[in-house]
Symmetry: C2
Subunit: 424 residues, 2 copies
């Protein structure tokens, strides 16, 4: 279908839609209330404004029965940070179009926020959400599939602020990550203006939700990269066979609060995403003791090599009778330990990926590592500096993609993600 045809406003099924059309009374600073839902540049069929738009659309939507389990989308923090990790994830970054501005970005985030509210409740999307002139619509793909603990978590990248005229509001902590010595980053799979982390216990749900966000972004933002991850049903091991995620701090420690935090970030976080390929064909050939020493934990149960069980604190000072440290000086858990990094704390929330063989026959497999913290400059950055300089495990890892996003605070019913920033 030609683009001109699709942009013909009269073709939009929502023209004259009642619920949305009546919702124009909410506070909305800085740009026109009208046309907000589809941005200042489109042939917006809806007269709609600000925060109330999302609520009105939601209330007017098709309320299918919402099966459990439902993870509430609204709250003081975005869902997907404190939520226990789901078995499937799609991570995706979008870049805003060249014609974007603050109003259009807000309109996109309103659409996404509104859709997220419906999707996480297992509801079909109301037709009013479709971009004006688009004939594309909800096809009922998820009818019968529960939300399966679906969460959508949105983040803003460094360039988002320049593209929306909000450069002055960009936090210093969102500065580009430094280069690390062993990085082999593919820029096409890193960074991005907007992040969406889509987690659910059903791979069909994550796949379709990503497609839905992509459809709702048409004309405003294009997919930059996407990555697909999963865990084992019990979620304990990574593809190297290691018990992973031990001693993860309380996820609340990743959240931002306090007087210096801008309103839009309060209750939010910073997330670093690293696509870490594992050199599994090499790893497999190592003697089991070598594998355990590189990590500093037993393969069988994840206990530190200084003894106990998985959750026994590691004794970094322990030495063997010959004076050699039990936990090698280059063992991963020594270099990554908060005690080795001025107390730096990372909340890790990672998934495995296995996208099949690479051109050379080796597996395109590893970890979609996400690290959450209140400030990457005192979190991921110093820890990764230490690891990249001597971690025994890094010989079997290749960091192939990297991104950093500010994750705005939670969303109230009727609000939308980053509203306080965009209407500030």
């Amino acid at each position: 279908m030609p683009q001109a045809d699709r942009e013909a406003a009269g073709d939009h099924p929502a023209a004259g839609a009642g619920e949305a059309g009546r919702a124009g009374s909410a506070a909305c600073g800085g740009f026109s209330r009208r046309r907000m839902l589809f941005g200042a540049g489109g042939a917006a069929a809806l007269a709609a404004g600000g925060a109330a738009t999302a609520a009105a659309l939601r209330d007017g939507g098709d309320r299918a029965a919402a099966p459990d389990p439902v993870v509430p989308f609204h709250g003081p923090h975005q869902a997907g940070i404190l939520t226990p990790r789901q078995q499937h994830v799609r991570l995706a970054a979008f870049d805003l179009g060249t014609r974007t501005d603050r109003g259009r970005a807000a309109a996109l985030l309103i659409r996404w926020t509104t859709a997220a509210g419906h999707l996480t409740r297992g509801e079909a999307l109301p037709p009013e959400l479709e971009p004006p002139g688009s004939r594309a619509a909800e096809t009922g793909v998820l009818a019968g599939s529960g939300p399966a603990r679906l969460t959508l978590t949105f983040g803003l990248g460094h360039a988002f602020f320049d593209r929306t005229g909000l450069t002055a509001a960009r936090p210093e902590a969102l500065a580009a990550l430094p280069a690390f010595p062993e990085d082999r980053l593919d820029p096409a799979r890193g960074d991005g203006d907007l992040l969406v982390q889509i987690g659910a216990d059903d791979p069909f749900v994550t796949a379709h939700v990503l497609r839905t966000l992509q459809r709702l972004a048409r004309g405003e933002a294009a997919l930059r990269w996407t990555m697909t991850g999963f865990t084992a049903a019990d979620g304990r091991r990574n593809l190297m066979g290691q018990v992973d995620g031990t001693n993860n701090p309380d996820a609340r420690r990743a959240l931002l609060s306090g007087p210096g935090v801008p309103a839009w970030l309060a209750g939010g976080s910073y997330v670093v995403i690293r696509r870490i390929r594992m050199l599994l064909d090499h790893w497999d050939t190592l003697p089991p003791t070598h594998r355990e020493q590189a990590l500093g934990r037993r393969t069988a149960d994840g206990a530190p090599l200084t003894g106990g069980t998985e959750h026994t604190p590691v004794d970094l000072a322990a030495v063997r009778p010959d004076g050699v440290p039990v936990i090698a000086t280059n063992a991963h858990i020594r270099l990554a330990a908060p005690a080795s990094n001025n107390g730096a704390t990372l909340v890790r929330r990672s998934w495995s990926y296995h996208d099949g063989p690479r051109a050379d026959g080796t597996p395109d497999a590893g970890l979609l590592f996400t690290a959450w913290q209140p400030d990457p400059r005192t979190g991921f950055v110093p820890v990764q500096h230490r690891l990249s300089r001597g971690d025994a495990l890094s010989r079997y890892l290749v960091h192939e993609a990297s991104a950093l996003f500010a994750v705005p605070g939670g969303i109230s019913p009727g609000g939308y993600v980053a509203q306080a920033l965009l209407e500030g």
Copy 2:
């Protein structure tokens, strides 16, 4: 590690392994019993022969506790044909190396069969299974993960018979599929000497099992292509939003039996695999009624447009008052119906795939369609000929890869897949 180092026989941890070394008494025609496990060409550290090898290795293996649910690997048919479809699949084809022969192919199939027995019971692999000289070994990745209804189903492609000197034994039904008018096939993702269908309810299990088979094949067979599929938790819909799989015949109708069937194929089947990309960006723009007419079923519940529920038989003769057939002349369910195809019956067992965006931004998503039948010449071929000439649904589908495999009959404890062919 240099290849020469890895092939040094003395490096193999199983040299002199007791259980396997004593197992040399079983019937094994046509080639040397010795060296069978690792083929005639390698520095075989194991003196091992024929059918007993698999059993001996299995009995001598590390018997970890086997969690439920376990789908029995042994039986009159290979698991994965009659087994209710699992939520995750990895389909993979391997090509034998240029130095292959009947003995080496048998050795590979013995290793795979033995590994499959362990893996489907949730057991670690015994070190004796590793190729000679290889330092690669089981790293405990699946420790703690159940087999999750894991099945491995093996098939033989057209070229397998030439490569193993068994051209005379190739069934006529395994002739290459004809070209269909709308095919846009990528040869690199089609065909192959050997097929493995790896199904399980845990994506971590399917990913690791494929890697394990790849490791065990090292030096003998290389991965040709692999595809990853999934279903929704309830398994009912495809990514077009259609209720899919309705009116699937009893899977036993796909099985081969009778006097004309060679012993190795008795209880087996033929499987056609088609990677069918869906033009979802186009499909989404169609009016809902158009989508329903293309299929011939209601989107909401999968009932035929002639009424009833999903499982009500379709009335292909029904006409509207104006004389137009209720089920359009080009509706998918009309053209695919057995009544339209001389009673041809296909047992369908398909998964969705969504590998992210293609270079043009459209989704690389669709259906990994597998069709099982006792003879593709009276099964898939005539049905696809009809569909490719006028099916309304085909306008939104692109067949991108195609393969046909003969699936040998079931495996008895102590036997291995295709044993009756390779020792015939």
